[in-house]
């Protein structure tokens, strides 16, 4: 990340960011892991067809081997196929929740930052208030009110995790507004909408993109916590947290294959998103790039 373009060559900021990102091996590995896991969960079931609705009590809790590469669970479901199915839900919820949170947060933060003054003060005190309520507590309380579906879980998680993005975007908008290049554009006669569209949004976008990646990682962990505590999807649907919670009851019978493969996938995907987020932050924020 020490390279900078030769001065005579004009390279756009985004291209520089992509180049710096591509040089980060961990980030590339992270993208690779995410792509592979998405393929595994969404395309995998097309190649590796398993029964995931009708229970099969005769073949319950079989260890890995033979017809079942990762064994079967207490209902007789093939664990490998189950991980794919659970992964679909976990990844979907993680992405949806992150997008919802980012959309609300970006809008809220931009409005607060642009209007400023008393409105900004009131809007930000509301964010302070909501932030002081522990996230897991309020999300669990909300979950008691709804039957769990991919949509409802995404909405619940998204509805309570936009506070971070809102603060970030507001701070970014506030600092961008007072920068020299915005003053320069104003002096050159740019209209307010043009300044917002051409200068504020492209410059604030970096922060937003970085934040989405971390939001996905956090939402995947959060939904696994909800699933583990009994507020996950209902049979025949499943997500990784519920799968792990089902596995716990058979841990004492030595059924390790119900825990390690799912747990491994979960940690891997969260780590991958965190890697990508770290690298994006380093490559998009020019101030960090030289370090």
């Amino acid at each position: 990340m020490t390279d900078t373009a030769p001065p005579q060559q004009v390279t756009s900021g985004w291209r520089l960011a992509v180049r710096s990102f591509a040089q980060n091996r961990l980030a590339v590995a992270g993208v690779g892991i995410i792509v592979l896991l998405i393929l595994f969960c969404f395309a995998g079931p097309l190649l590796y067809v398993t029964e995931q609705v009708a229970v099969d009590p005769v073949n319950s809790l079989l260890p890995p081997g033979g017809d079942y590469p990762l064994g079967t669970d207490a209902q007789g479901f093939d664990v490998l196929g189950r991980i794919m199915r659970g992964g679909q839900a976990s990844l979907q919820i993680g992405l949806f929740a992150a997008l919802i949170a980012t959309a609300i947060g970006t809008l809220y933060g931009t409005i607060a930052g642009l209007i400023g003054g008393v409105v900004d003060g009131i809007m930000m005190r509301l964010v302070d208030t909501l932030l002081s309520i522990p996230f897991l507590f309020i999300v669990l309380i909300a979950a008691t009110q709804f039957s769990s579906t991919v949509l409802s879980l995404s909405l619940i998680l998204g509805a309570f995790s936009w506070l971070g993005p809102a603060r970030l975007v507001r701070a970014e908008v506030l600092s961008l507004r007072s920068r020299g290049f915005v003053a320069a554009a104003t002096v050159m006669g740019a209209t307010k909408p043009r300044i917002i569209v051409r200068h504020l949004i492209p410059n604030a976008l970096g922060v937003v993109i970085v934040n989405i990646t971390f939001q996905v990682a956090d939402a995947i962990i959060a939904v696994s916590l909800l699933g583990f505590l009994g507020f996950g999807l209902n049979y025949p649907d499943v997500e990784w947290g519920t799968q792990l919670s089902d596995g716990v009851s058979h841990l004492f019978e030595g059924a390790w294959w119900l825990i390690y493969p799912v747990g491994g996938c979960l940690v891997l995907v969260v780590m991958a998103f965190n890697f990508v987020g770290d690298a994006l932050r380093d490559s998009i924020d020019v101030r960090l790039r030289r370090r």
């Binding site: 005190r125 509301l126 302070d128 208030t129 909501l130 002081s132 309520i133 522990p134 996230f135 897991l136 507590f137 309020i138 669990l140 309380i141 008691t144 009110q145 990682a217 962990i221 696994s224 916590l225 583990f228 505590l229 009994g230 507020f231 947290g241 792990l244 919670s245 716990v248 841990l251 004492f252 030595g254 390790w256 825990i259 747990g263 979960l266 940690v267 969260v270 780590m271 965190n274």
Partner: protein
Amino acid sequence: MTQYVLRRLVTSVIVVLGVSVITFMLLHGMSGSPGRAILGVQASAEAVAAFDREHGYDRSLIAQYLAYLGQLLQGDLGHSYKLNQSVNALLADNAGRTAMLAGVSLVLAVCVAVPLGVFQAVKRNSVGDNVLTTLTFVAYSMPVFLLAMLLIQVFALGLGILPAQASQSSSTFVIFTEPRAMLLPVLTLTGITVALYSRYQRSAALDQLAQDYIRVARAKGLSMRMVLTRHLLRNACLPLVTLIGMTIPLLLAGNLVVESVFNYPGLGLLFFNSLNNQDYPVLLGYTLVASVLTVLGNLLADLVVAVSDPRTQRA
């Protein structure tokens, strides 16, 4: 300085009031009428309405909120109709054990994370630093319950040297009287907290190492050990104070999960059981207390930083 403290105090009070509005609205919206809760599902609608009128639950929302706020100011968090006990008594019964578990884990985590972060910063990019960074990154990307399950699998089922369940004793000091039974819960909570803090501690120490005062101290002829313990450690700990204040919600969430996994009778397990009973007065009572703790934590952290860092006093 006084102005800063005053302003922080005022915003904290506003935030706490805001939280009370939210918990009141949730309590009102989710748990239905207290008349129904007390008289049961078989009571007639008239009887429920009469009960609510008699106890003032049919007044305007604002009047009811003011009554709720008045109760809160007197320290009354409400009543659990499901358990027929006051929320205060329920929380007080369990608070000691949770404070003990969370407190011991937090102290242990700080004692591990601070030297770990400084070590990593001094030996940055060495094999040791990379191994530790990877380990903390894995732990950081792991849901709490997964770490708990791995520890149970290894220490309770594999090696068979520790019990898989926390002590069921009602004593507050169970961590000290039955340390073996509490080792796994404490280890889990400490583990995730170290993963959370050591990353920050490493970068805080890195920032400090680049400062001029370190070079001056070295130039004076102080040994590296002296520089680290006398000069760097104090300054590198300041961000951690803010971090502890900021991460109280995460610590409480971790505590909630750990208590549920290890079946440790504390506030977390009470919350978990209340979720399944849909016992909203208890849920929102604990949420309110947790939020106040969070606000106090942030306030305290800001004040400590303001007092100990003269640069912030001018701002």
